[in-house]
Structure formats: C-alpha cells, structure tokens
Symmetry: C2
Subunit: 234 residues, 2 copies
C-alpha cells in the first residue's frame, strides 16, 4: 500500500476526518522510506573529495560521499560540521542524510525525498479522494539554524497552502499599516507538528492541525528559500 493510502487509513483508524483548511504534517522520514530513498553505505565508494573532507567533517567517507551527491555546494566544513546546499535549494547539515529510524541495518542511511512538493501533492490528492476535503499538506524535517542552538521542524515540501503569509498592508490594532512583515506559516506549522511527532521512538509520523487560518495556494517549499542574491549569510 502506498504512503498516501496508509495515511488515509491511519486517519480513518484514528477517527480523524480531515476538513477543508486542515493541515496534515508528515515527517520526511516516512516519506523517504516509502519512496525508497535509502542508501546502504556498504555499496558506496567515496570519491577523492569525500575522503579528503571526511576527517574535518568527522564522518565516514562513504557518508560524506552520499551527502555530496545530494548537494550542489559545500557551504561550511569545520570541526565535525558539514553544511551544504541541498539539491532542493536549502542549506542544512549533512544534506538531510541521517541514520535514525531507517531500520535497515547499521549502514543504511536515509536521504530526503526526491521531490517533497510532489510527495505532498500525492498525499493531498489521496486525502481529497477519500474524505472530499481540500487540506494543506506539509512534509517536515528538523534543521539546525545559523546563530541558534538546537534544531527545529521546517517545511521541506508543501501542497495546497500558501507557505508565506504576507501581512504587508494590513493594519495593526492602532491603524498603523504593516510594511515588511511576512510570516513563514509553513515553517511554524512544521515546528508545531514536530513537538508532537518527536524524533526517536515515538512512532508519530503525521499530525493533523486544525484551527489555524491558512490560505490555499500552490505550496512549493522552494518559496521558503531566500533568493541567493538577497541572502546576506551565504
């Protein structure tokens, strides 16, 4: 059974009936595994570059090789940290490749989905077919951040909702007109769901969020990425 069908069945089993405006947040790990985005390091031969970076990155050269294949650019390598620009455009540690909750042996690592927006669209379509409701779908993952400690859930794939909510032109409580505020609602929804999903043995890969006013839209997690020309921290 496909992941979208499994999610529909799980919603049904939990007596959750999705309604228009709900947001279903699905953990990247189950999407990746369902789509076969798993690599056995035993079958990876590191290139010269991966072997050269491995000691500074503090990682197995085969893992570094997988990370490099997933990346378009190395952003920082320093004292056990390897930060790259992922082929999907965002900047994160280890290109999102990790060992946890793969469950296919000690050498198996999980990559991000090939196209998380497409994964979200497929889940959205299945929920719509089963329940008749136009919901938003977010694929979330935990990313570290420059300047701040700890990882937080962020949106890496989306469908059916507007990831950014512009407040420009809206009034505050005193008639002042907002001039620059844009809220990354998809990232906030992703973070909220992470609080319930956990990352260890909780077994809670999906969270249905209700009661947050969201705007229907194309989704596209790419819209959450800052234009490189405007990114002062590259």
């Amino acid at each position: 059974m496909s992941l979208p069908d499994l999610l529909v069945r799980a919603l049904d089993a939990a007596s959750l009936r999705p309604a228009a405006g709900d947001v279903l947040v699905v953990a990247q790990k189950v999407v990746s595994k369902a789509e076969g985005c798993v690599v056995d390091l035993a079958e990876v031969t590191p290139t010269e570059e991966a072997r050269r970076l491995a000691p500074e990155a503090g990682k197995d050269p085969r893992l570094v090789e997988v990370i490099l294949r997933e990346s378009t650019r190395i952003v920082r390598v320093h004292a056990g940290v390897l930060i790259t620009e992922h082929r999907l455009g965002f900047i994160c540690a280890n290109a999102g490749v990790d060992h946890s909750n793969v469950g296919l042996g000690p050498d198996a690592v999980c990559l991000l989905p090939r196209d998380p927006d497409a994964s979200a669209r497929a889940i959205r379509a299945a929920v719509r077919a089963a329940f008749g409701a136009a919901i938003g779908v977010i694929i979330n993952d935990s990313h570290g951040r420059p300047h701040r400690e700890g990882a937080v859930g962020v949106c890496i794939g989306a469908a059916g909702l507007e990831p950014l909510h512009s407040l420009v032109g809206r009034p505050d409580r005193y008639g002042y007109t907002m001039r620059t505020s844009i809220e990354a609602v998809a990232d906030e929804l992703a973070a909220a769901a992470t609080l319930l999903q956990g990352q260890c043995d909780e077994g809670m890969p999906a969270v249905l969020i209700r009661g947050i006013p969201i705007a229907e839209g194309e989704g596209e997690a790419r819209r959450l990425l800052r234009d490189p020309a405007l990114d002062l921290f590259r």
Copy 2:
C-alpha cells in the same frame, strides 16, 4: 495592574486553569509595553554613525540610532536591511525595534524587554501564586532567519522549562542510538503560539499550550544562542 496580574485575570476570564506542564507563551510586544520599553523618535538625536548608516539601512536615522543603542555589534547592512547582534545576544533585524502595535503615536517605537527571562519569571510566579501550578513561560517574538524567507516565532525569554531537549543517547524505533539531535523545543513552542497570536490586529497576546511534554528547568533564552566560537555564520 501589572502584566502578570493582567494575564492571571485573562486566564481566569477565559476559564483557562493552568496546570503543571502547561506553557504560557506571551508576545514580546505586550511585555515591552507593560515595562515601558517604548521610545519616541521625536526625542532621539542620531549620532554620526546612525546618520551614516541610515541611507544604506533604508531607515530614519533616529530609528537607526535606537537600533544601535540596543545592539552590541552590526552584523550586516545592505540594501535596506540592518542586522545586528542585540545586547541580549541574538542576531536579528533591527535589534527587534519596531513600529507595529505600539499605539502611542507615529513616532513611537518599541524595544525588546530589558530582561525577557526575568519578565517570564515574574509571569510564572504570578500564575503559580494564583493557580498553584508550575508552568513554563515563554516570551516570543518573530525573527527573520538566514537562508529562509519569512519570519517565525522564536523564544527570547523563558522560565520554568528546559529550552533545549537533548535526544542524545535515546533509542529510535529500531534500537539505533541518537548521537547528535538536540531539539529547540522553546523555539518550536514559540512558533506554534505565533500561528494563533498573529501580528496585526488579532489582539491575542498570550496562548496557553497543553499536552507537549516539557522538562522543567531554568529557562534562560540565552541557552538558545549558539556559542559565537561555534557559529559558522557570523
């Protein structure tokens, strides 16, 4: 009436009875205003440095002056963006100084609270005195982020909870032991509350969160700041 007392009264009026383990998230703006952290730009004389930076920062030189007073260091100034290190240690746009929801005239701007951890502790003590419950308190604000579009709610003050939740040493569902994961739960709680609070004319400055397992702790939003020596993006 003090803000902690107003919050106790509002909880009571909403028939919300805080219980141990709940988290009350309070918007920075009401804390700052209650503590008088408001400056009238009409009374500000910009220094030479503020006048020099103003055109590139795309801002009133008097506003730049206030931002500089709140900051220990300028991080980036480019094409209408002014990013500084705030005296509280975090890196954000305009040192958290803004015009919205101040309500004291067109030239009034609001600063961050002097000591948001202390503000959170006072709210926590008032809730404990009124309801007998040991809750966590977070002061949140919306910050932009390097690399990603849009602002998200983050924790700038905390009391009674552990802002970071280390998963190191815990097993995943397949017995793999987590090695590096640390979750910034205080930032995720701050982001979740922002979804309900809004930032315009919603009039929802505080949100009570229940059902998220948090660890009691000292709070201290400073723990969410990366050690400058380990921050690869300074």
